[in-house]
């Protein structure tokens, strides 16, 4: 087959909703874009463990602690599913870690905000996991097989994350005045960063068209953001909390909520590394990686030694 017919064959599969699998021919740009997208997603899951990990030891009850622990453990698993999917494209795990640790690869900016109170655990589960689900559900039908299969697994686990967060918010919103204030304060701080999670507006998102063509993105940033706002506003009403946006208004004609202007300067500033916790998050990751090096080396040395011993025994028996 010529390069042209390889390309044609690939295009036909994309057009007919046929999955691309690791050993199939694919354009270099498709491979690279996928590696970037999947590894960034994996990094987000792993770095995303840090803001919530911060509260595990201070959860207000044993039940809340067990739940938070299970959620954070799930996020570690999500990172693993996604790193594995990226590895099928020919990049190694260590290379991806290296890109994260040197700042070459990005992760979701939302995790560069601090978790100041217990209510933040509620807001993160409800809003951040909620936004993540909105993003991830369409990716269960993405064109790259291993990515789609990883997303199916992730989405299955994700729904309890959002529900436990909402439950925390609900409990606080129905509590004492102080608890109610905590809940509202958390919503105030997490609302805008959460709706920024869908990425820059469509007219400033140059790669969207190609990604939609390749089916590695199925809705635009603004479409997903609107969908998220529409459902979340109603959820806030249900527990008597107020979305911190004075311009928020139901638009009968559009059948959607209109919302205020998003401060994209803040978004780009955090992306560039100037968020409240960028430095701390990256340093924590690097420290864990570097200080764990001896464990990884020791495990490898131990398995080699055991293998050698086994082979020795076999030789002796044969002799």
């Amino acid at each position: 087959m010529t390069v042209h017919s390889f390309q044609q064959h690939f295009d036909e599969k994309i057009d007919n909703d046929v999955a691309i699998e690791p050993r199939d021919w694919m354009p270099d740009d498709y491979r690279k874009t996928l590696i970037r997208q999947i590894s960034q997603h994996a990094h987000s899951e792993i770095v995303g463990m840090l803001p919530e990990g911060n509260w595990i030891t201070r959860a207000p009850s044993l039940r809340r602690k067990a739940v938070l622990l299970a959620k954070v453990q799930d996020e570690g698993g999500h990172g693993l599913y996604l790193y594995s999917a990226a590895e099928t494209l020919g990049i190694t795990r260590d290379e991806m870690y290296d890109q994260l640790h040197t700042g070459k690869a990005k992760y979701s900016s939302i995790f560069n905000y601090p978790t100041l109170t217990w209510a933040d655990m509620g807001a993160i589960g409800w809003l951040v996991d909620g936004a993540a689900i909105m993003n991830q559900v369409p990716l269960c039908r993405t064109s790259y097989g291993p990515y789609a299969r990883a997303m199916v697994r992730v989405c299955k686990e994700e729904s309890f994350h959002q529900r436990q967060g909402y439950e925390i918010m609900m409990a606080l919103a129905n509590g004492t005045d102080v608890q109610k204030k905590l809940a509202q304060d958390a919503l105030n701080r997490w609302w805008w960063p959460s709706i920024m999670m869908f990425g820059p507006p469509d007219d400033n998102s140059p790669n969207t068209a190609q990604s939609m063509r390749w089916r590695i993105k199925r809705f635009t940033n603004d479409e997903l953001r609107q969908k998220f706002i529409d459902v979340t506003v109603e959820q806030a009403k249900l527990i008597g909390l107020t979305i911190p946006d004075p311009d928020l208004k139901w638009n009968e004609e559009r059948g959607h909520y209109d919302y205020g202007t998003i401060d994209w300067n803040e978004f780009w500033d955090v992306v560039k590394g100037n968020g409240p916790c960028n430095k701390e998050r990256l340093e924590t990751r690097k420290k864990a990686w570097e200080e764990g090096a001896w464990v990884r080396d020791a495990a490898l040395a131990y398995s080699k030694k055991r293998k050698a011993r086994k082979e020795n025994k076999k030789d002796n028996l044969a002799a």
Binding site: D24, Y81, G90, R93, Q99
Partner: protein
Amino acid sequence: MNQFINKNLYGDYGDKEQAGGAEGSNHNTAAEWPLWEVFIRSKAGLDHKHVGSLHAADAEMAIENARDVYTRRLEGISIWVVESKYIHASDPATADSMYEPANDKVYRHPTFYNLPDELTHM
């Protein structure tokens, strides 16, 4: 961003020595734990099914890690792991000729035979 990419020639994962990177290949992977493929039997009576992969120093650790990441919600009662480098795979580029022999043998399917409607128990 400059990515290190291996073209995959062997199984789902590249045989790193053989494949040679598409863009520079001096990335050292000697310290990486080997990669394992994980297969899980969800309940007695069913086959083990491929669920994903993970890194581990040896088979024992691979099984324990597989339990922690792939069976957190009672998804399995039995786990197989095999080092990814031992998976041999057919080549998708030759799929057309590979599976061609089955193309013209519709008579292997029961629906090929046109029999009277009154016929029962068959």
